[in-house]
């Protein structure tokens, strides 16, 4: 690290970095986003802030660097409320990574973007250049120093956005969905960078495997309230809590990536039901002629970038095909060509006939596409109008349009949403609505571009269930091997505009495990999955253990109440690991303060110490 002359960090009084007490926040439209949030964050904490879409996570982190002011309650950073000069200083040592990197890269070149923070910290101009180089070097973008950010790929932008914060050497790093829309290679780079970060880390994410790898503490928000604050291990091992807050991602743990090691069955173990395997294509499909076909297909953008090079691709009716590959491999361009949005060089056949200009213009009636960002295809004032848009363009009569709207909304579990405004729906609902807008057109082929991006696990599970039920021929573009395994039977691996492999999904997933093919190797996720499956192996038994709890109790004549610790023997559902087929086991840290009935325990003598640090007593009698 270069010696730089930036403002020194503010001194820390006590052991608390952020002290939040009964924080409340209501948006101008009346929505209560935070309710009575009390949270203490210490230096070096690594916290995963999790919860369903709309639970208040982003609102909370926007308070942490003063982007939202405190309406009611108290929030202090290093002992002082975040306002005026203290807020200005605090912002220089609290880094916030936004979900969309385009929001964060607002300068003219990467150099200026990365230099922006250090210059505001008071680093002299001549010392900024080495800092910028170092930060961009850390994220592997040193060669793009003077590039404008609109020339970067999405993954590069995401890393550049992180570099803008690393150059400020922040004491606190807050990340908002850092892995959203990243391919696995980029995700691996990101996790390597964050693993080495030594400050306080607060991470908003729906990707609990990512959070498990990076964080030690989990704070669960639900409808603006903190519902749980415990260790990451406890969160992932406690399925009822995960399920309660729509975070249960256990369905992913049976994904092929997580199957390298299996657990011995234990008596009473809460087993996760294995998901159904994707249905094979109908027998008739195997012999049927190709529904769509590309032969020696090439496409180059006007700036000369060759996005597709000699593509040969056949898709039969009823098939479900995944297209995978790193960012920039040509997947989206391939979809655009299949949709007729872009026209390249080579043969493009649909239903066995070559597409001429007129037939290409009519392709939208037979091929439907769901975009990665639902905002790109939602623009009407109500959900019913949105779903009816396509059928109306097809010239269908009103009754048929109404029938299709109802059927499509029911199919995506949005019955009763007809008059709702699409803009006001949650992320998961918007995604399902986007699918309904396409389903109402009853296309023969359904193209899905990253359908689960940005969804919480519950939304993800529901969407997978819906997609699995659809009868259409499907093309799925994704970075997520789990989805590939769940929804497709065949996989194309693309790289630099070419199809590298075209084989059965089972073979592809096997390839994943053993060869780390392409950019989809997430070895850390496989390891995390195994570990979490072991943690979720849970059963109940009793043996003496210590509790910290509060209830009225007696010391001679004195009856009072306060938290105190002593040993009991009674049954608990424990999450723990057994040594193979042995009774020996160890418990991971449990919440030591909990409330439960102890028969006659209040009447037993309590001879625990009352030292100076004993919490204030409540006189009962």
């Amino acid at each position: 690290m270069h010696q730089t002359h930036r403002l020194p960090p503010m001194p820390l009084s006590g052991d608390t970095l952020f002290d939040i007490r009964e924080l409340n926040f209501r948006y101008p439209n009346g929505r209560q986003a935070l309710q009575d949030i009390s949270l203490c964050i210490r230096p070096g904490d690594r916290i995963a802030l999790v919860g369903q879409n709309g639970s208040g996570k982003s609102t909370l982190v926007r308070h942490l660097n003063g982007l939202l002011g405190v309406q009611r309650g108290r929030l202090s950073y290093k002992g002082l409320p975040l306002r005026d000069q203290h807020l200005r200083r605090a912002r220089l040592e609290i880094g916030l990574l936004f979900q969309d990197p385009d929001d964060q890269l607002f300068c003219h070149s990467l150099y200026e973007d990365v230099a922006f923070g250090p210059l505001n910290q008071g680093v002299p101009t001549e010392q900024v250049a080495p800092l910028v180089r170092e930060a961009l070097g850390q994220v592997g973008l040193a060669q793009l120093l003077y590039k404008s950010s609109h020339h970067l790929s999405y993954g590069q932008k995401k890393r550049a956005a992180l570099a803008t914060l690393l150059a400020m050497n922040p004491e606190v790093l807050i990340l908002d969905e850092p892995t959203a829309n990243l391919d696995s290679a980029q995700e691996n780079i990101l996790i390597d960078l964050l693993r080495d970060y030594s400050g306080t880390l607060i991470c908003i994410t729906h990707d609990l495997l990512f959070a498990y790898e990076l964080c030690r503490r989990a704070v669960v928000l639900d409808r603006g309230r903190i519902h749980h604050d415990f260790s990451m291990r406890e969160l992932v091992s406690h399925r009822p809590s995960l399920r309660e807050h729509g975070l249960d991602f256990s369905f992913r743990l049976h994904a092929p990536l997580a199957t390298a090691a299996t657990l011995p069955a234990a008596p009473g173990a809460a087993e996760i039901p294995a998901p159904p395997a994707p249905q094979p294509p109908p027998a008739t499909a195997l012999d049927s002629p190709a529904l769509v076909e590309l032969r020696d297909y090439h496409f180059a953008y006007p700036d000369g970038t060759r996005a597709l090079n000699g593509i040969n691709f056949r898709l039969k009716a009823g098939e479900s095909v995944a297209v995978v590959g790193e960012n920039g491999a040509g997947k989206t361009t391939l979809l655009s060509c299949l949709m007729g949005i872009r026209q390249g060089r080579g043969r493009h056949l649909f239903g066995g006939r070559a597409l001429d200009r007129k037939r290409r213009r009519e392709l939208w009636r037979r091929v439907g596409m769901v975009f990665q960002d639902p905002a790109d295809q939602l623009f009407c004032a109500s959900c019913a109008d949105e779903v009816a848009f396509g059928p109306r363009q097809m010239g269908l009569d009103q009754n048929e349009v109404a029938r299709r709207v109802t059927a499509a909304l029911r199919r995506v579990r949005l019955d009763g949403y007809e008059e709702r405004v699409p803009l006001h729906l949650s992320g998961g609902e918007r995604k399902r609505l986007a699918i309904a807008t396409v389903l109402s057109m009853e296309p023969e082929i359904l193209i899905l571009d990253e359908p689960t991006a940005g969804l919480d696990p519950q939304g993800e599970e529901l969407l997978v269930e819906i997609l699995r039920e659809l009868p259409q021929t499907r093309i799925l573009v994704t970075h997520d091997p789990y989805l590939v395994g769940q929804l497709t039977q065949r996989t194309l691996v693309m790289h630099q505009g070419r199809i590298l492999q075209d084989y059965a999904t089972a073979e592809f997933l096997a390839d994943q495990n053993h060869k780390s093919l392409n950019a989809l190797a997430l070895t850390y996720k496989a390891a995390c999955s195994r570990e979490i499956r072991e943690l979720q192996h849970q059963h109940e038994h009793s043996h003496p253990h210590r509790h910290l709890h509060e209830h009225p109790h007696r010391h001679g004549d004195l009856v009072h109440s306060h938290p105190h610790e002593h040993e009991h023997e009674h049954a608990h559902g424990y999450t723990h690991v057994h040594q193979a087929h042995s009774e020996e086991h160890c418990h991971p840290p449990q919440p030591r303060y909990h409330d439960h009935a102890h028969q006659d325990h209040e009447q037993e003598p309590h001879e625990h110490e009352h030292g100076e640090d004993t919490p204030p007593r409540t006189q009962v009698q």
């Binding site: 982007l67 929001d103 210059l119 590039k147 790929s153 970038t305 655009s336 975009f371």
Partner: protein
């Protein structure tokens, strides 16, 4: 044709006008086809390139007298020269100015292709002058009129044509001059120079942010438009199209507004308090003064020449 001298009426042979129009149309078509083929032949090796983006300061990494010139002096002197060019009247002065701008472009070592593309963007607008002015200029004594039998009631005034060409020459000269002015330093440095000259900092920041986000908004517009087209929407001349376009623009506005808030949040989160931190090292050297004086003198000389000697 009949008639030869100034003040004459020249009557064109029938068929000349359609022939000229045909030649112009063919030239235009050839140009379009040529550009498309050139684009197809060009090979891009970087997977990062996504779509064509006209970048204002695309040639900022270079070594020329313009690249080494202090942005403040460059701004004052080249804008001054542009002012003098615009103040000239004659076609000859306009052509001289065009030559000067071309020489400046060569000295700045900016690729001609880039400059020509920029000029091409103006041609439609300028072509309108070349067509309209000769047909609408008030006929004065001594004007030479060219009459095409096909449109005999609309004589083609050669003084109007000269005026149009003079305007075109000056416009092209100023446009060419913008290349050495804006393309030879990072846009942020140029705008910082502008601020140092007394222009409010907010103006520079707004230009900088507009230049950055215009591409993001264009991309969002393209994606939304594609989202409508794949569901069968085609623009037609009926009320439904108007209603859909209204929804589309409204949604685009909402997305842009939301993005604006997020960008401002991101700026604040990294310590923004109303001013972008400066990067440029502005130190006036004698060479900066000399170059500045040279271009101002060139402008004055051009104006004097135009007013005193040129017709």
């Amino acid at each position: 044709m009949t008639g030869t001298g100034p003040g004459d009426i020249i009557v064109a042979t029938p068929g000349i006008l359609p022939l000229v129009l045909l030649i112009l149309a063919m030239a235009g078509a050839l140009l379009v086809v040529g550009r498309r083929r050139a684009a197809a032949k060009r090979s891009g090796h970087s997977p990062e390139q996504n779509w064509s983006v006209p970048v204002v300061d695309g040639a900022s990494q270079g070594q020329s007298l313009f690249h080494r010139w202090d942005a403040r002096f460059k701004l004052v002197s080249l804008l001054g020269l542009a002012f003098f060019i615009v103040a000239t009247r004659s076609l000859t002065a306009g052509l001289l100015a065009l030559g000067l701008a071309a020489a400046a472009l060569a000295a700045a070592r900016i690729p001609w292709r880039r400059a020509l593309r920029r000029l091409l963007a103006m041609t439609g607008f300028l072509a309108m002058f070349v067509v309209i002015l000769p047909l609408t200029a008030v006929v004065q004594p001594g004007d030479t009129l060219l009459v095409f039998p096909e449109i005999a009631r609309l004589p083609f005034n050669l003084r109007g044509l000269e005026l149009a060409l003079s305007i075109c020459a000056r416009a092209l000269a100023v446009a060419l001059l913008m290349e050495p002015l804006l393309a030879t330093a990072p846009l942020s440095t140029t705008l910082e120079g502008l601020t140092r000259l007394g222009v409010p900092a907010k103006v520079g920041q707004m230009i900088l942010l507009a230049h950055r986000y215009i591409f993001v908004f264009l991309e969002e517009t393209r994606r939304m438009s594609t989202g409508m087209n794949v569901r069968g929407f085609r623009k037609r001349t009926h009320l439904e199209t108007l209603r859909v376009m209204g929804n589309f623009l409204g949604m685009l506005f909402i997305r842009s507004l939301e993005r604006t808030h997020r960008v401002f949040d991101a700026m604040q989160a990294r310590g923004y308090e109303g001013e972008f931190p400066g990067h440029g090292q502005f130190q006036a050297a004698p060479a900066d003064w000399l170059k500045g004086l040279f271009f101002i003198a060139l402008g004055i000389a051009l104006l004097v020449l135009d007013r005193l000697w040129l017709p």
